[in-house]
C-alpha cells in the first residue's frame, strides 16, 4: 500500500480514539495510528507480546531488543507502563479489558466477519494475536485499503477465506470511506473521503451496507 494512503487511513482511525481508551494496534498500518492521536486525547497502548503504556519509538541508538512491540519495532515505555507474560497479556485481551483494537485485513463482510490470516493454498502467516483481539476487544476496527492489489473488493458480500473472527467487526476505515456497524441496520456508510462519490464507493464495495441519512461527503479532510 502506498504510504500516503496508509497515512490517510491512520489519520482517520486516530480520530476514532477517545480519551482514556486502552487500545492494541496490529502490525503494519495500524501501528501508524499511534502517530495520529488527536491533541487532548490520551490513550494507553498495549502490545500483546507483553507491555502496556507503549510510548514513542526511541531515538536511533537508544533502541533495546527487549523493548519491542509485536512487530519487533523498538518501543519506549511511558511512566505507569509495565511488562508481563503472554498469559497475562491475553487475559487482558480476551477478558474485555481493552477498549479497542485496530487491525488490517484481507477480507471483511457485512456480517462483521473478518478474514486476515490465511489464503488457502497460498499463504499461511497465522492469526497471531488477532483472533483473541477480535474476540476480546470492546470495539474492533478494521483499517485497510479499500481494494486488494488486483483491484478486487476487500469489503465482500461474504468472506471466502477462513475467518479470523465471526461477526466481530464494528468499524471499517479505508482510504475512501468509513462504515460503522449498527445492531439492526448492519454497516452504515458514514463518511466518504474527499475525491470519492457515493457511486464510487458502491462500485468498489461488495459488502452490503446502507448509506447514513447524514452521510458526510468530502470527509477525512480535517
Amino acid at each position: 500500500m502506498a504510504d500516503d494512503l496508509k497515512q490517510i487511513i491512520a489519520a482517520r482511525a486516530g480520530r476514532e480514539l477517545k480519551d482514556g481508551q486502552i487500545i492494541n494496534l496490529g502490525i503494519g498500518l495500524p501501528t501508524l495510528i499511534a502517530n495520529h492521536v488527536p491533541a487532548g486525547v490520551d490513550v494507553i497502548i498495549q502490545t500483546e507480546n507483553g507491555a502496556i503504556g507503549v510510548g514513542p519509538q526511541p531515538d536511533p541508538g537508544c533502541e533495546d531488543r527487549d523493548r519491542a512491540n509485536a512487530g519487533n519495532q523498538p518501543i519506549s515505555l511511558l511512566a505507569g507502563g509495565s511488562y508481563f507474560d503472554s498469559c497475562t497479556s491475553f487475559a487482558m485481551i480476551r477478558g474485555g479489558h481493552l477498549d479497542a483494537t485496530f487491525l488490517g485485513t484481507l477480507q471483511v463482510d457485512g456480517e462483521g466477519n473478518i478474514a486476515n490470516y490465511m489464503v488457502p493454498g497460498k499463504m499461511l502467516a497465522g492469526m497471531g494475536g488477532a483472533m483473541d483481539l477480535i474476540t476480546g476487544a470492546k470495539i474492533v476496527h478494521i483499517v485497510t485499503e479499500h481494494c486488494a492489489k488486483d483491484g478486487t473488493p476487500k469489503l465482500m458480500k461474504a468472506c471466502t477465506f477462513p475467518l479470523t473472527g465471526a461477526k466481530e467487526c464494528d468499524v471499517i476505515i479505508t482510504e475512501r470511506a468509513l462504515f460503522r456497524r449498527h445492531p439492526d441496520k448492519g454497516f452504515v456508510l458514514e463518511e466518504v473521503a474527499a475525491g470519492h462519490t457515493l457511486d464510487d464507493i458502491a462500485a468498489c464495495t461488495d459488502m452490503a451496507y446502507v448509506v447514513a441519512d447524514d452521510v458526510k461527503l468530502d470527509a477525512f479532510g480535517e
Partner: protein, 232 residues
C-alpha cells in the same frame, strides 16, 4: 537449601531425544533461547515437534533447526516472520499448525497447572474453531482447548539463580513464563547467573520449582540487543 541446578549445556540438552515435543519461549527473537537452539543444531536428533509463538525472526531461531531437518512439526500462532517456514511447509518437509496466540500461551499454562484444558470464546464461528470440541456454558458457546504438556521446554531469562528462579527483561518475558511451566524437563539459559538470595523474592517471574536445569548463556545478548536495530 535449594539444590544447585547449574549444569553444562551438554548435560541438560542430552535429555532431548528424537521425536520429542519441545516448548520454546520467546517471541520473534525477544527472549528466544538462542544458546540452547544453537546447541540443538549440533545434536543428532530429528522429528521434533516445536510449540512456540513463532519460529524465530528472519533466519534466526527455531527456523534454523527446520533448515537442518530436525523438526517434524511446528505449532505456532504466527510463522510470517520466518519466510523459510512457509517454503518448507509448501515443499512438504514441515508440518505447520497455527493456533491463536492467547490459546497457545494458555494451553502451556494449563499443562503446567495440572488442568485438563479450558474454555475460550476465541475462534468461535471460524474454520479453526471447527477443529475443536464446542461446549456451552450458561448459554454461551466456547471452544474446549486442551492443556499442553511437552517433554522438554527451553527458555531464556535475563537473570537466574542457581535453583532456577528466573527474571526476564522487558518484552522478553512473553512465552518464557508459560513454556517454563509445561514440560517434564525445563532447561533455562540465563544471561546472568546469581547466587541464591540475590534475586528479590517479590520480583521473581518464574519460581525455581518449575525449572530443572540452569545453563549459562554463551551469547552476549547485550551486544546483540545494541546491534539489532543498527544492522537492519
Amino acid at each position: 537449601m535449594p539444590k544447585n541446578k547449574v549444569v553444562p549445556i551438554e548435560e541438560a540438552m542430552s535429555r532431548i531425544k528424537s521425536g520429542m515435543s519441545i516448548a520454546v519461549g520467546g517471541f520473534i527473537g525477544q527472549g528466544d533461547p538462542l544458546t540452547l537452539i544453537d546447541h540443538l543444531k549440533t545434536m543428532d536428533v530429528k522429528d521434533l515437534t516445536i510449540y512456540e509463538n513463532d519460529a524465530g525472526y528472519r533466519e534466526r531461531g527455531v527456523v534454523e533447526l527446520v533448515r537442518l531437518g530436525k523438526i517434524k512439526k511446528v505449532v505456532a500462532s504466527h510463522v510470517g516472520t520466518t519466510p523459510y517456514i512457509g517454503k518448507a511447509m509448501n515443499e512438504g518437509t514441515l508440518e505447520v499448525e497455527v493456533v491463536p496466540q492467547g490459546t497457545l500461551a494458555e494451553r502451556m499454562r494449563s499443562g503446567g497447572a495440572g488442568l485438563g484444558g479450558f474454555l475460550t470464546p476465541t475462534g468461535i464461528g471460524t474454520t479453526y474453531g471447527e477443529s475443536r470440541e464446542q461446549i456451552e456454558v450458561d448459554g454461551r458457546t466456547y471452544l474446549l482447548e486442551k492443556a499442553l504438556k511437552c517433554d522438554i521446554a527451553i527458555v531464556r531469562a535475563h537473570r537466574g539463580d542457581t535453583w532456577g528462579n528466573l527474571m526476564y527483561r522487558g518484552t522478553s518475558r512473553n512465552f518464557n513464563v508459560p513454556a517454563a511451566m509445561c514440560a517434564d524437563y525445563v532447561i533455562a539459559e540465563v544471561e546472568n547467573l546469581y547466587t541464591l538470595g540475590e534475586l528479590d523474592p517479590e520480583a521473581v517471574h518464574t519460581a525455581g520449582i518449575f525449572v530443572d536445569a540452569v545453563v549459562r548463556a554463551n551469547i552476549d545478548y547485550c551486544v546483540l540487543r545494541e546491534e539489532a536495530y543498527h544492522n537492519g
